[in-house]
C-alpha cells in the first residue's frame, strides 16, 4: 500500500458533495496519512477520489473500510460475519424493511462490490440497480445464480472460490456412492431402530470394485471424484464438454455414458446445455441397477422423472445433495431405502467455510487495492 503524503487538492473537492452517499463520503478525518487505494471515479464533471481505508485503517481510525453489499447473506458470510465485517463495511440489504429494489435504489448506487451466493441471485434486474458495480464475489464455485452475460456486457468482474470446495464436494460424491451401494444409512437406521437383534440379517449391498462409474463433467470436482473411485477399484469413464488430458475413457455424450455405466456421478456446471440433461432416456439407459449421485445442481436432473424412476424401480438408487427447488425435497423419496438425501451440504465443512471466507476476502482486498483478483471466473466457465 502506498503511503500518500501529498494529495491532489482536487481530491478534496470531491468530499462532501454527495451527501446522500454515506458509504463513500466519509470524512477522511484530520489525518492526512491515509493509505489510499485510489479509484478515480468520474461522475459527471466532478471527480471523486474514493478513499478506502483498507487493512491499515487502524492507523486512521476515522477512515472507513471499503463498502461491500450483501443482498442475502451467503452461508459462509453468516458463519464468518464477524471476521468479514472487521475488514469491510457491509451494506446489508436483507436487514432493511424495504424491498430489495427500493433498498438498492436508495442506498447502493455507488456500490462497487457485492458478496453473494446462490440464495441471493445477481440477476439482470439486480445489476440494473447497481450502476457502479464492478465486482461480484461469490462464496460458491457455481455461478449459475449470476447473470454472467450481463456482467460480461458491463465489464463487471466475477470471482468464485474455484477449487476451494472441490475436495469436499468430491468427498461427499464418493461418500454418497458408497453410502447408497453399501446401504450405510440404511444399516445405521436398522441398528438404531433396534432391528439387529430381531432380524439379524441386513440386506446385502453392492460391491464398488469393478463397477463402471460414469462421471458427468471432469472439472476440478469430477477429476477428484475420478481419482478417489479409481483407488477403490472402479472403472472410471466420463463425459465433458471436451475431451480432457485424462487416463479415463471419454464418452461424447451422457446417453452413451449411461448405457455403459453402473452409476453416474454428476459434477458439471448448470448451464442451458446441462439443464435436465439427466432425463428419462438417460435413466432408462442407466438401467434398473443404476445409481445416480448428484453434487452438481438439482436442475441437471429432470427431478419429476427421477422420482418416478426411483419409485417405479426403473433405476437402482440415488444419492442427492441438490434439488430443483431447495429446500423442498420430493416427499416420495423419503419412503425409499435406496435413496440418500443431503441438504446441499457437500461443501459445508468448517475447513471449507474458513477457506471460502479467506478467498472472498482476498478477492475483495485485491479489488480495492487495484491488484489482480485471486480467483476470477473466466469466460468459458
Amino acid at each position: 500500500m502506498k503511503n500518500i503524503r501529498s494529495i491532489d487538492p482536487l481530491s478534496w473537492c470531491g468530499f462532501g458533495i454527495n451527501t446522500k452517499r454515506d458509504a463513500i463520503n466519509r470524512p477522511i478525518g484530520n489525518r492526512l496519512h491515509t493509505y489510499i487505494s485510489s479509484n478515480l471515479y468520474n461522475f459527471g464533471s466532478v471527480q471523486f477520489i474514493i478513499l478506502m481505508g483498507s487493512q491499515h485503517h487502524d492507523r486512521c481510525p476515522s477512515s472507513q473500510p471499503p463498502q461491500v453489499l450483501v443482498i442475502r447473506p451467503p452461508p459462509v458470510f453468516t458463519v464468518h460475519e464477524q471476521y468479514i465485517s472487521n475488514k469491510f463495511h457491509i451494506l446489508k440489504a436483507y436487514d432493511s424493511a424495504l424491498p430489495t429494489h427500493d433498498f438498492l435504489q436508495a442506498n447502493a448506487q455507488f456500490v462497487k462490490a457485492v458478496l453473494c451466493s446462490g440464495n441471493g441471485p445477481i440477476t439482470a434486474d439486480v445489476l440494473r440497480d447497481l450502476p457502479a458495480l464492478q465486482l461480484v464475489v461469490s462464496t460458491t464455485t457455481g455461478v449459475n445464480h449470476i447473470d454472467m452475460a450481463e456482467c460480461r456486457k458491463r465489464g463487471i468482474k466475477v470471482t468464485n472460490i474455484q477449487d476451494v470446495f472441490s475436495d469436499d464436494v468430491a468427498d461427499v460424491a464418493v461418500g454418497l456412492l458408497i453410502n447408497v451401494m453399501r446401504r450405510i444409512t440404511g444399516g445405521h437406521k436398522f441398528v438404531r431402530g433396534g432391528c439387529w437383534p430381531v432380524t439379524e440379517q441386513y440386506p446385502l449391498g453392492s460391491k464398488l470394485g469393478g463397477k463402471k462409474i460414469g462421471i458427468v463433467g471432469l472439472g476440478n470436482i469430477g477429476s477428484k471424484v475420478a481419482t478417489r473411485l479409481y483407488a477403490m477399484g472402479c472403472i472410471v469413464s466420463y463425459t465433458s464438454r471436451q475431451i480432457k488430458d485424462s487416463p479415463f475413457t471419454f464418452y461424447p455424450n451422457v446417453l452413451k455414458l449411461a448405457l455403459d455405466s453402473d452409476a453416474l456421478i454428476l459434477c458439471c456446471a448448470l448451464t442451458n446445455d446441462t439443464r435436465h440433461m439427466i432425463n428419462n432416456k438417460v435413466m432408462m439407459a442407466l438401467g434398473k441397477k443404476g445409481i445416480i449421485v448428484n453434487v452438481a445442481r438439482g436442475a441437471v436432473i429432470d427431478e419429476a422423472e427421477l422420482v418416478k424412476c426411483l419409485v417405479e424401480g426403473e433405476i437402482g438408487g440415488a444419492g442427492l445433495d441438490v434439488y430443483e427447488n431447495e429446500p423442498n425435497v420430493p416427499k416420495e423419496l423419503f419412503g425409499l431405502d435406496n435413496v440418500v438425501v443431503l441438504p446441499h451440504s457437500s461443501a459445508c465443512t468448517n475447513e471449507c467455510f474458513q477457506d471460502a471466507a479467506e478467498v472472498a476476502i482476498g478477492n475483495l482486498e485485491a479489488f480495492f487495492a487495484n491488484k489482480p483478483l485471486i480467483t476470477p471466473v473466466t469466460n468459458d466457465f
Binding site: 464418493v174 441386513y202 446385502l204 453392492s206 469393478g210 423419503f334
Partner: protein, 313 residues
C-alpha cells in the same frame, strides 16, 4: 461327496447354504429343538464345520464332533476358531482372505465419510423436514487429514491406498514395522493415536489386541479424533468408548462391530456423531458369493485330497 457331512454353525449366507446343500449332506446348528439329541445322532457323520464370525469352532464343538477333519470359516478373521486346538487335533482350518479385502476397506472409507461428513445425520435432517426450518451443522473435512491404521495387513493396506487418494497422510502401528511400507510407523498404538485425526482398527483379534483401544488410547486420539472399527468389537473397550463419546472426549465414531453383537449400546443411538452398522463390512452380493465359493472350494479340495486353497492350519 454327498456322503460328506458338513455342519453350518449359523445362517450367515443363504447362497452358501444352498451351495453346501447341493454338494454335501448339510446339517444346521440353529433352530435345533434338542442339541444333545442332534449330536448323539449325527456327530459321527460330520466331517466339516463351516463357521462364521458369530459362531466358529471352539473346543466344546470340536470335542463333540469326533469325525471332524476340517473347519472352513466364512470369514477372514479366525478369533472364533481355536487354532491351537485344531492344530493339536490335526484338524485343517481355512478362511476367506483377499476376496473381502476391498469391501471391508470400502466400508472403512464409507464409515469415515458418513461420520465426518454427517451423511446419515443429514439424511435424517432432510427426511424429518427440518431443512426448511433449521440450519444444519457444518461437518468436518476428510481430505488431507491424518489417518492412523492399526494393523497394516491386506485390509489395512487397502484402506491406506484409498485414504491416500483423498490426500490423507498415512501412519500405522503393527506387530512389527514393515520396512517395505512407505507409511510412517509408530511403535505403539498410543503414539499412533496421538498423531492422527482418524484411527482405523484393521488388525486381527488375538489375546494381545483384545481391548487394545482402551481409555489411554481414546484420550490420546482426543476430542477432535474419530475412531473407525472394522475389526472386531473386542478390539475396543466398549464401555470406555461409549463414555468418551457421550462426554465429548472423542469427536465421533464409525463402528461396524461391537463386543456383544447384535447388542449395541443404546447410548450411541442418540449421538449424531456416531454411525453404527450391523457387521456388514464384507456384505455385498459379489463378495458373499466369492467367500462362499472359497469355503466350498476348500471343502471340495480337502475331500478330494487336493491342496487347500486358503489354509491357515
Amino acid at each position: 461327496m454327498e456322503a460328506m457331512g458338513v455342519l453350518m454353525t449359523y445362517p450367515m449366507s443363504s447362497y452358501l447354504e444352498q451351495q453346501l446343500q447341493n454338494r454335501f449332506t448339510l446339517f444346521r446348528l440353529w433352530n435345533l429343538p434338542n442339541k444333545t439329541h442332534f449330536f448323539n445322532h449325527n456327530a459321527h457323520n460330520i466331517q466339516a464345520v463351516v463357521g462364521s464370525t458369530h459362531i466358529g469352532a471352539d473346543p466344546e464343538l470340536i470335542d463333540s464332533l469326533p469325525a471332524l477333519e476340517i473347519v472352513s470359516s466364512f470369514s477372514v478373521g479366525l478369533d472364533k476358531v481355536d487354532l491351537a486346538y485344531c492344530k493339536e487335533k490335526g484338524i485343517r482350518v481355512t478362511n476367506t482372505p483377499d476376496v473381502l479385502t476391498d469391501d471391508v476397506a470400502d466400508t472403512a472409507i464409507g464409515l469415515i465419510l458418513a461420520t465426518l461428513r454427517r451423511i446419515c445425520e443429514d439424511d435424517r435432517f432432510v427426511r424429518s423436514g427440518l431443512w426448511k426450518k433449521d440450519e444444519f451443522k457444518l461437518s468436518v473435512k476428510f481430505s488431507g487429514k491424518k489417518v492412523g491404521i492399526l494393523g497394516l495387513g491386506r485390509i489395512g493396506t487397502a484402506i491406506a491406498k484409498r485414504a491416500e487418494s483423498f490426500n490423507c497422510s498415512i501412519s500405522y502401528h503393527s506387530r512389527s514395522e514393515k520396512p517395505e511400507s512407505k507409511y510412517k510407523y509408530y511403535p505403539s498404538v498410543i503414539k499412533l493415536a496421538s498423531n492422527c485425526d482418524i484411527l482405523v482398527v484393521a488388525c486381527a483379534l488375538t489375546e494381545q489386541t483384545r481391548h487394545i483401544i482402551n481409555r489411554e488410547v481414546i484420550d490420546a486420539l482426543g476430542p477432535k479424533g474419530v475412531l473407525v472399527n472394522i475389526g472386531r468389537g473386542a478390539h475396543v473397550d466398549e464401555r470406555e468408548l461409549v463414555s468418551a463419546l457421550v462426554e465429548g472426549r472423542l469427536a465421533g465414531a464409525g463402528l461396524d462391530v461391537f463386543e456383544h453383537e447384535p447388542q449395541v449400546p443404546e447410548e450411541l443411538f442418540g449421538l449424531d456423531n456416531v454411525v453404527v452398522l450391523p457387521h456388514v463390512a464384507s456384505s455385498t452380493v459379489e463378495t458373499e458369493m466369492a467367500m462362499a465359493d472359497l469355503v466350498v472350494g476348500n471343502l471340495e479340495a480337502h475331500f478330494l485330497k487336493k491342496p487347500l486353497l486358503t489354509p491357515v492350519v
